[in-house]
Symmetry: C2
Subunit: 459 residues, 2 copies
């Protein structure tokens, strides 16, 4: 086995434009998949490509022996769309190093962290080729689509996966490059798109204006009705299953290294929502949301075009917490939209995927937790490795983002996840100029090497 | 002078993509301008191109002698943008004849009617080269932008234009190809665009969702607040200057050859607004409006992108009636938007142009009208010519559209307009598959030939 250079490898990996949501990037998806599969084969894994209805899953195994500890490492090889392209300082798929950061779509989400895990593993395996640790890699290609094929994947592989003890994931964030967060919960996700249809084609707004219902007016009325003034969601049943937060969770958040003023100036926003009395820093972790991710209709070009547009659309996602059910929330939202749609237009709804929230209570934070010894040990080993490499204990916090598949790993294969957050706000996730901090990359690699070494030690 | 073929000439004219609002079409504008200027020169006009800050005005004169009747013919060589291009059955700027119609952007608005006037004039001039009628052509290139350069044009040329007796315009509509409307009023126009700005760049909707004010939510709230449920405008002061309609106007509308069911099925809409108790057919003529012509923000592509967009925009136009003042309405709208903009986002407003409404009371409809003998005669001649060629008296109706410059011709040069409507709802004005009826084109040419002959007769 010839060792790879972590940074060079990441640069090569970033060159593949693996945008899963857009069919145009089919080749980039294939190339990224083959690249990462090749790396795993090179490290001695037996690699399978599991076909799905869309993008195959990479399933790779290193089996050393029965009755040995067994971990799962999860990641994804797909990335978010890169547009708006003109806001990137260097091209999204031509990675560039500037000021200690590597820029490129996917650098932080999730290609950099994937290379961190692999580099750490390569380091330990070159010291101990017989490391007493069974490892299964699951690297999917539909995370940025909401992992629609994973339920079928679990139909076939959950039994095999359930033999593992737990899993590691690095697809969450930390507030700064030296304060690592272990994520204790992920929000669920509900997706839908609505289209409001008016006249059969765009109409002259002078000749027909005043009588014909404008789809953009109707859509705005619907969208405006979905929130209250404090930013909370105005849909009956939406908050069913939302539970109170724990004392230790508020305590951990007090140690958060960013105060509200810094948070505000970082984002350059004039103000914040404070839904249902939650502070902004609490709201993004503890509260469910309904966001319009895209909306449009009518003339989009320069200047004016005096029309009543034929139709208008809105792309909607909700983030769920605690026991909210994805299917029920989707139904509540659709029902509210249908009821509020003015009679002068027609409504079309496209249901997208949905996924429930996930949470794990770390054994060192609550005594009431039932937890396997292996998971308890893994949490402890991870905590110590982070302290050693980053100089500070990790924070245990809920996360606002979603990795829908993590709840499935728990529900379908019984696997709890230790989620070590490796991206930071400066990384511009899902936005132009996404980047990954190279020093953090190196420290995180050392951290995971410590973790893999410890977990492979005879017990 | 060699006579041109009307239909072939229109086809050539339609090939020039003269979209005034988009800089990309600079060449098309120039070509269209030169083409129509060439036609006028060929008919013996002295043609001047009057430079403006944007697109030059064609000013052409045929001066036969002092103390002779003098008419102005107004038109515009610019057209609306052609998008969405994929909804056209034949390319927007590659004219095609199908089923007795000529398809192409600008065929009805306003290139077809311009060729009608010219063909009629060519016919009369070839019979009577010395026709005792002074004629001034004003063909501008910014009508679809709201004629922003025309005030300065009037600063220089209103005195010269004021020597004319009245003007003809064919830039309005008729309900069917055999029921011609003489338009007695045009709505004014107010233009503006707003941008709502949130975070400095698009943000991950999971990581920041719930705290950061989403510009699309804010924009929807603003837009939704601008109308009442009946479609009327919810802005203080908006209706100042709106007057009651006259009895004869309601009477004329009763003769309108389209009932509400036909109107609805033609437009394929599920229902209509009935603002302030006006029926839909009344509302589009008698009521002012506020329309969102385009709106957008966030992800516009296929699938989902889980972001909070950095900004969102809306393009707004109002149509004014009677004594509403464009500048005041613009101020009222901006004030309401500023007051209603949530504090969590920043608002940017671009003021567009504005123009007041115009009306002329036809002498045969109301005895209370003061009106020159020439205008009285011109109305009568036009009414008779339409009866003769189309077999029915014209209807005298207000029109929902705007030709901002017509009010300026009245206010700056004292010219009232006889507006003979030559496009019909089937023409798809401002929309994909714009077309112009060829039989109507021929009848209208004969009508205008009759009019020009009569007006040039010794009196």
């Amino acid at each position: 086995m010839k060792n790879f250079d972590p940074l060079e490898t990441l640069i090569s990996y970033l060159r593949f434009p693996s945008v899963s949501t857009d069919k145009e990037f089919h080749e980039g998806m294939k190339d990224a998949r083959n690249f990462v599969g090749g790396l795993l084969e090179n490290m001695g894994f037996s690699v399978e490509l599991i076909e799905t209805e869309c993008h195959p899953v990479i399933l790779a195994e290193r089996f050393v022996g029965e009755d040995l500890p067994h971990i799962v490492l999860y990641g994804h090889y797909d990335v978010q769309p890169a547009d708006p392209l003109d806001l990137w300082d260097s091209a999204a798929f031509e990675p560039e190093i500037r000021n200690g950061r590597i820029y490129g779509r996917g650098s932080a989400d999730n290609k950099g962290p994937t290379i961190v895990h692999m580099s750490a593993l390569q380091e330990v395996l070159s010291e101990q080729p017989d490391l007493a640790l069974n490892i299964t890699y699951v690297i999917e290609g539909e995370e940025e689509m909401g992992s629609p094929s994973m339920p079928k994947f679990f139909d076939r592989y959950s039994e095999r996966l359930s033999k593992a003890d737990m899993m590691f994931v690095s697809d969450t964030g930390s507030p700064t490059t030296d304060q690592i967060v272990i994520t204790t919960a992920l929000r669920g996700l509900v997706e839908l798109e609505i289209k409001v249809k008016g006249p059969k084609s765009d109409l002259h707004s002078g000749i027909y204006g005043g009588a014909v219902y404008n789809p953009l007016h109707a859509l705005s009325e619907i969208i405006a009705s979905l929130h209250n003034e404090d930013g909370s969601v105005n849909i009956p049943g939406f908050y069913d299953g939302v539970s109170k937060i724990e004392h230790w969770e508020r305590d951990e958040l007090k140690r958060y290294p960013l105060n509200l003023e810094e948070y505000q100036s970082m984002l350059e926003v004039p103000g914040f929502y404070e839904p249902r009395g939650f502070s902004p820093l609490e709201a993004v972790r503890f509260e469910p949301t309904l966001e319009i991710n895209g909306m449009g209709g009518g003339y989009q070009g320069e200047g004016t075009k005096t029309i009543i547009p034929s139709e208008a659309f809105a792309k909607i996602t909700c983030r769920l917490v605690a026991e909210q059910k994805g299917d029920e929330v989707q139904n509540h939202v659709i029902k509210a939209i249908e009821e509020r749609c003015p009679k002068g237009v027609k409504l079309e709804v496209r249901r997208g995927c949905f996924a429930n929230a996930y949470s794990v209570i770390p054994p060192n934070k609550s005594e009431a937790v039932e937890c396997s010894n292996f998971l308890k040990n893994a949490f402890s080993v991870t905590d110590l490795a982070i302290q050693k490499q980053f100089g500070k204990s990790p924070l245990y916090l809920r996360e606002g983002g979603s990795i829908p598949v993590i709840a499935d790993f728990k529900n379908r294969a019984g696997l709890d996840a230790i989620m070590v957050g490796l991206f930071t706000p400066e990384d511009n996730l899902h936005a132009p100029n996404e980047s990954f901090d190279i020093e953090l990359m190196q420290k995180a690699t050392a951290t995971f090497a410590d973790i893999f070494r410890s977990l492979g030690e005879p017990r």
